[in-house]
Every structure is written in C-alpha cells, then in structure tokens.
Amino acid sequence: MTGTSVRHSGSVDAAHSRHLLLQMLRVRQLEEKCVELYSAAKIRGFLHVYIGEEAVAAGVMTSLAPEDAVVATYREHGHALLRGVPAGAILAEMYGYVEGCCRGRGGSMHLFDAGTRFFGGNAIVAGGLPLAVGLALADKMAGRSNVTVCFFGEGAVAEGTFHESINLAALWQLPVLFCCENNLYAMGTALVRSESQTDIALKAAAYEIPAWAVDGMDVLAVEEAARRAVDAVRSGGGPHFLELRTYRFRAHSMFDPERYRTKEEVARWMERDPITLLRAALETAGQLSAAEWEQLQADAQAEVAAAVDFAEAGTPEPVEELTRFVYSEPGGDEELRTGTATRAGTAAARRHAGKTTGTP
C-alpha cells in the first residue's frame, strides 16, 4: 500500500455525502468571511485561510471520536470548526475578545479548545509534531485507545523535528495519524525547490510507517483513507501517515503578492475545487436537488452570520488581567487543568449558534 494512491470505492450514502458537502461549505464560508473581516480591519495579525483545502479537514475530522486529540498548524480555522469549536468562538478569538476560544490571547494562528481536545494552532512549522507524539505516548502509557491526529504542511518535511518525531512514533509504535497537507508551496517555496525527494509518503515509509498518498481534493477519498488509517492506529497498528495532495487557492497570508506561481496554475487547480467536485458528483447521481444545494448554502451562511454577530458583541479582556495565564493560578479549575471542560466563552458561542441556526 505504501506510496500508492487511494481512490474511494464509489458507493457512499447520499445523506452522508451531503453532510460532508455542508462541512466543506461551512469552512469555505467562514474563511471567506474572515478575508472580508480582515479587509475591514476587524481581524489583524497574520491570517491564513484554508480555501481550496477543505476536503482534507472535512474527510479526516469525520473519522475521529470525541476523545481523540487533534494538533494543527497556523492554517487551522477549518480544523477547529470541524472538530466542534463554535464558529463564534473562533471569530471572537480573531477579534481579540474574551469570548474567543482563547480569550483573545491566541488569535488566528493559535486556536485551542480543551473541550474538544484541540491542541492548537501551532505557528512553528513542524513544531506540533512532537506534541502529537507525546499526547500519543501518554495515551499508550495510560492504556487508552485514543488516536492523536497531527496536521502539518509539506514544508514541515524539511525540518529536522519532522524526522525526529516520525522516528519516535514509529520506534515506540505510538497511536498517531500524521496528516501531511501537501499544497505544494511552503509560503512561496515550491516543493521541487526544497526537497531532493518530493514523494513525501515515501519518506514516511522509510521510517517503517504505513503511508499513502491521497487525492486531497476528493473528500470521499480522504474520508475513506482516514477511516482506514484511524481504525488501524486505534487497533494497535502503530503510527500511520497520509499525504493529502491539495492546493491553496488563496495567497499564503494577507501579505502575499503570489509572485511564485502563475494564475494559470491556480486556475487549473480551481477546476478541481473539492466543493464543486462533490456537488457535481451528487447532482449527476441525482442525489442533490437545486433546493437541497440552496439549503446547504443557506445553513452555512446562517451559521457564519450568527458567528459574526457573536464576535461583534464581544468584549475586550480588562487590561488588569494582562499577566494572567503565564503561570497557573492557585486553586485553578481542575476540570480545565485536565482538559475536560469547555471555556465559558466557547460554551456561550455554542449556545448562541444553537439558538440562532440550530447548527451544532
């Protein structure tokens, strides 16, 4: 299996496919709103959107159980949303408000949520991989059957920490699923300009880890590969590795003039937009009516609109609290300390979303 491409087998439940379509739409609409809010100066700092890559997070997240752990990168709004962090708490975080999922201390690149075991939001390329290895080590030592999923870009493959982490996970047979989101560019550096060996699954295979390359624009293929890998990891099969071949439709960040790739190349990839692909497949199969498509879009839009309302109503944390959370506070909340509670702001965002749209 190693190094070969996986394609989905075709027979998929129509309702479930429409669910996956909705998940991708939710991310797409949230990200488009983020770009708009950035242009309106509501969001500042660095902003990296996931438009074009939605099939990866959508396909992988549906394969996980609630007690599993997720480690992601600085391009993680979609991962957080599909893991279950409310859109309102994500947007309020980017507004820098206390109702944000990290009280406004993390921002776009550092979304965290203990309630869904979402461990960030890591903005050092490859910096999250050792954390995932350690989370999996804790699960293995404690005899829990959880899986830790670690997302990172293909740029991470050039970092030494990538190799150290993959080796440790394989050596100790830890329950980690490594998900390499290969969008071909590390900021502006093309994979072929940074790696002597560009077959990333092959590199993982060199560490004796089962590794597949998957069409990352095909959400059904991603989901099938992720389910297979998660099942194998959970049943004691040691770490697994997916190279998800995808493409970023937008610039790296809001400060990127995109001198390193052509408009024609971007246009070619946009013909394989994961949302368009699944929509067309469902329509061809007679499994998505025009009314159903309109409804999915409307649901996603309503969720994002409610999230914007929630963020707009947010409040700044008092400056007197600036130095909190550098060290733990005496008598701190044990539930928070053990990662079993949900932050008040995040819970409020969840209630708000439920009230206004009925969306989870």
Partner: protein
C-alpha cells in the same frame, strides 16, 4: 546517611516514580547506560523500560514529546545531557512549553520537569561547559531551579512535579560527586524562596548552583580577615525571590553577585538591577559582580580555571565592596 549529590538526585527520582505512576524519566542514555552522569543508574532495572525510557538523539523530538505527554496527563521528567544540547530543543521549550497555557487562555497546563547538567570545571571544552540557565530565566512561563545542596538535589524534584507549569532544573556538573550527610527521610522542599547558607552582617554574597561551594570557601577566608559575609543561595532563578535579596542587602548594605554565566545580559545583571531599583538607598557601596570571562570555555585546565569565578576573585570583589563607600 552519607549521600552524594548524584545519589540524592537519584533518590528524588526514585521517590517520585514510586509515589506517582504518571511519572516517568525519558532522555538519552538514561536507561541501559545508567545516565550519562550515572544519575539514573539502576532505575531501569527497578522500573523497566517504559518508565525509564531511552530516547534517540532527538532533543527537539523528545522534549516536545515530554510536553505532549504532560498535556496528555502524564508527569514526565525529561533529562537533557547538558545545557548546550538543550539548544536543540529551545523551540519546544520556549515556543511550546512556556507559551501553551497563555496562548490557550488558561486551558492547557504543561506539568513537565526538564533536568539538565550545566556549567564548567571539568575540561569539557566549549560545547559541554556553558551556563545558560540565565537565558532560560528570561522566559515568562518557566520556573528555573538550581539545586546547590544535597537537600535540594533530593527534594526539589517532587515539588517541581506538583507544579502545573514547566520547571527546568539545572544540575551543575561539578556537584555530582559532592558528598555529605542527608537525612534518610529528607523530603520535598519549597521551590520559591532563596536560602541564607551563612548568615553575616558585612556583605551579601549572592549566588546559586555550582558556585555555592566556592562562595562558602570565600566567606571563610573573609571571616579570617574580619569580614562577616552573608551567603545567599538564590535556589530559584525564576521567579527570583526579591524579598530575600532585598532583606539581605538591608542588613549588610553591600552586595556581590557571583554567577558562572557571562556578565553581559546575565542573571547577575538582573539581580544587580533589582537591588539598584528597589534598595538603592540601603547600599553603602556599588554592587559588585564576579562572573565568567567572556570567552567560550576553553579546554586547557589553567585557562578554564582563569575563566571561572574563583575563591580568590570572590574574596577580592567582596573586599573591594567592603572597602568602598561609607
């Protein structure tokens, strides 16, 4: 009972392993080899390879894995062979261990302990001998400890493991063979306060870690010359125990800081600044400092010794301070 500093550290690790099954030790050669400085000798046989876990030479990987395991509910003790090697894990320590609680708005604690050897004096050259604990003491989110006595070698670890935040423990390489009496039931010690190792009224000698023995020797020599020096062991380099420093200076009105780190931008500079900021009018003389010469630590014995704070230099600095001003 008679104990060496090394044995006291080992007893501390053993205590913790027995008391809490979430505790495990991980690092290069901690198991089959017995620890590069023999601190963990015999623990593999007692606790097995899961809990006395040998790692590859992957400082970034296994320090980061320690952070992840702490996030996952374990209480890891990660050993790094020397402070110089810890630079390979600096990203994980500074960008993850020290920041996760804050970036997550208080959601994720990192109850991790990292132990490492620091310091010179053993002719190991410039890549095994530096004293970079002052650098780490610059970082909010970390607690930095420097055990200088047998009691602290034995007792700081357990208290550090109770801390929900990351703690770095710096063991000076010249201390491992220091031996003395240690109570059989020596237990946990506090990790927040400085300690007066020798009371005195004429000058405060403020130090920590591996230079404490030389400072105590210097205090004896000063006593023979009629100068009654107080020796303050900082013990915790971050957060600093300002109250103890200021109280000592208020008694003696003179201070010399002895720090094996380099002088420029150092922990000694920080202590000096705090005295100047908060106790300026208690001082009868300028604050003095004895630090390492600003060179990479050389191999040749005479050059290495010349680079480090010596009893002679400490005595001379104390006398210069005592003779200065009113």
């Amino acid at each position: 009972m008679k104990s060496s500093y090394r044995e006291a550290l080992r007893a501390g690790i053993r205590d913790a392993m027995i008391r809490d099954e979430r505790v495990f030790l991980m690092g290069e050669d901690v198991g089959a080899y017995g620890g590069s400085f023999a601190v963990s000798l015999g623990l593999l046989e007692e606790f097995g390879p899961d809990r006395i876990r040998d790692t590859p030479l992957s400082e970034s990987g296994f320090v980061g894995a320690g952070i992840g395991a702490a996030l996952g509910g374990m209480r890891p003790i990660v050993e790094i062979m020397t402070v110089n090697f810890s630079l390979l894990a600096l990203d994980q320590i500074v960008n993850n261990a020290a920041t996760l609680l804050h970036m997550s708005g208080g959601q994720f604690h990192v109850p991790l302990v990292i132990r490492m050897t620091t310091g010179a004096g053993r002719q190991l050259g410039a890549q095994h001998s530096h004293s970079l604990e002052g650098w780490y003491a610059h970082i909010p989110g970390l607690r930095i400890l420097a055990p200088a006595t047998l009691e602290d070698a034995r007792g700081m670890l357990w208290t550090a493991l109770q801390d929900p935040d990351p703690v770095l423990i710096f063991e000076h390489g010249s201390l491992y063979n220091v031996a003395g009496e240690l109570d059989d039931d020596a237990g946990p010690v506090d990790i927040s306060t400085a300690a007066i190792r020798r009371p005195g009224k004429d000058v405060s000698l403020i130090t920590y870690g591996g230079t404490l023995p030389a400072v105590l020797d210097a205090a004896d020599q000063l006593a023979a010359d009629g100068i009654d020096a107080e020796v303050l062991d900082l013990r915790t380099l971050r957060p600093l125990d300002d109250a103890a420093i200021l109280a000592s200076v208020a008694r003696t009105h003179r201070a010399v800081i002895i720090d094996e780190g380099w002088r420029s931008g150092s922990l000694s500079a920080e202590v000096s600044a705090r005295i100047t900021e908060q106790a300026f009018f208690d001082l009868d003389a300028p604050v003095g400092r004895v630090c390492s010469a600003e060179v990479p630590i050389p191999y040749a014995k005479h050059l290495e010794l010349a680079a480090l704070p010596s009893v002679e230099r400490i005595v001379a600095a104390a006398k210069a301070t005592a003779g200065a001003g009113g």
